[in-house]
């Protein structure tokens, strides 16, 4: 186990939807990770497709930097449709 890499598990719950992260597990190789993910994370038909990726391949944003990192979007209210004041009689927009 000590030398088994950690895998992140992503499951597509229903045909047509995105894969969503559900958790992680250790496995000796990707095939084993897929099979174990099936047994651990989809015992109740939670999914129709599974992706696994070794955790070391995931680069994450720095939690300490969260507020500075996402700050650029904060003052851009004009990216939202509600920012625009348009006549009430206007339809289909």
């Amino acid at each position: 186990m000590k030398n088994w890499p950690l895998y992140e598990v992503f499951i597509r719950s229903k045909n047509g939807l995105d894969h969503k992260h559900v958790g992680s597990l250790h496995a000796s190789d990707p095939q084993m990770a897929i099979e174990n993910a099936r047994d651990v994370y989809s015992r109740r038909m939670e999914g129709v497709s599974i992706w696994v990726v070794e955790s070391i391949h995931i680069t994450a944003s720095d939690p300490k930097e969260t507020s500075a990192f996402f700050e650029p979007a904060e003052d851009k209210v004009y990216r939202h449709p509600t920012f625009y004041n348009l006549p009430d009689e206007l339809e289909h927009m």
Binding site: G16, K76, Y78, Y84, E91, M93
Partner: protein, 312 residues
């Protein structure tokens, strides 16, 4: 041979059950090709579509307008990215797609080959061009290929401010001086027909439509979507108090929709073939940006290499 037919039948029945097809699923080669072509064209349109509006960023009449326009053009770059990525799930490489755009092998929406000569064009583009794009893209949210459908959902959410900011520009001009209102009218006059052309050839001249509909790549025909757009847009022009440049435009009570005049198809095909007012300029600008960006891509690679050596 038998095996192939069986697979085709099974594929079609999945489609008929409204199942989404995902990247790793079996699919007919023609389905894959059709999607690569359509998603590629769509991606190129988002990217080339930045040029006519980019033309006005530095000349926007206020800081508010400038920030909004910049934000919109940024969104379009993002849309291009979502779509290129969706196409890549089908096995085509990004570089290949970009080469095909530059060589003229791949097409993009002909609307972006028209010039943006006044500020009112920013209003007309948001209102009409994004408006037409939204009609098309809302329909594509239900397309049968999963990655394409999901990028459409994401794009549609982002589009809604694009049309509203355009309409707001038009509204402000229409409420302004007579010169300003004339600018808005002039922009409508120039953008109306090219916007209707965005839906593509009429159904009778669109031989691939039937197959695309059967595969549910398309959910509505070109003419159906065009009609929908006209019916939505006419009342909006009435709110603005400007006139759509079509003498044949008339409400048809029996059909419950507007009748409208014939598109100048000669113009349409000529622009598609490369003879529109700005085709050369647009491709030239794209190539130039790509070539002049080469050193940035090289530097990024060199930097990454240096960093990986440091870690190792």
């Amino acid at each position: 041979m038998m095996d192939r037919e069986l697979k085709n039948l099974e594929f079609q029945s999945r489609i008929d059950r409204d199942e989404k097809i995902e990247a790793k699923d079996w699919m007919p080669e023609e389905y894959r090709k059709t999607l690569i072509r359509q998603i590629g064209q769509h991606a190129h349109s988002e990217i080339v579509g930045m040029l006519p509006e980019g033309n006005w960023i530095t000349r926007a009449p206020s800081l508010r307008r400038k920030a909004i326009l910049l934000s919109k053009v940024q969104d379009e770059a993002g849309h291009g990215l979502y779509l290129y990525s969706a196409a890549e799930t089908l096995g085509i490489e990004r570089d290949t797609m970009i080469e095909e755009l530059h060589s003229g092998k791949a097409k993009y929406s002909s609307i972006f080959n028209y010039p943006t000569i006044s500020w009112a064009d920013m209003g007309a583009i948001g209102w009409l061009v994004d408006g037409a794009a939204i009609v098309n893209q809302v329909a594509l949210c239900r397309t049968s290929y999963g990655p394409y459908s999901r990028s459409m959902v994401k794009i549609c959410k982002e589009e809604s401010f694009h049309q509203r900011q355009g309409f707001e520009i038009m509204l402000q001009l229409c409420k302004g001086s007579s010169e300003q209102k004339a600018m808005a009218q002039d922009a409508l006059n120039r953008w109306w027909w090219p916007s209707l052309m965005m839906f593509g050839p009429s159904d009778k001249d669109s031989p691939n439509t039937a197959q695309s509909m059967a595969w549910r790549v398309k959910r509505f025909t070109n003419d159906e979507l065009r009609q929908k757009f006209v019916d939505m847009t006419v009342p909006q022009a009435e709110i603005l108090g400007i006139t759509i440049p079509d003498e044949k435009l008339k409400w048809n009570d029996e059909k419950g929709q507007y009748d409208f005049g014939e598109i100048n198809w000669e113009e349409f095909y000529s622009v598609v073939k490369g003879n529109g007012p700005c085709n050369k300029q647009r491709i030239h600008a794209r190539k130039k940006a790509h070539e002049e960006g080469q050193w940035v891509r090289d530097a990024a690679l060199a930097h990454a290499e240096k960093r990986s050596k440091k870690i190792a």
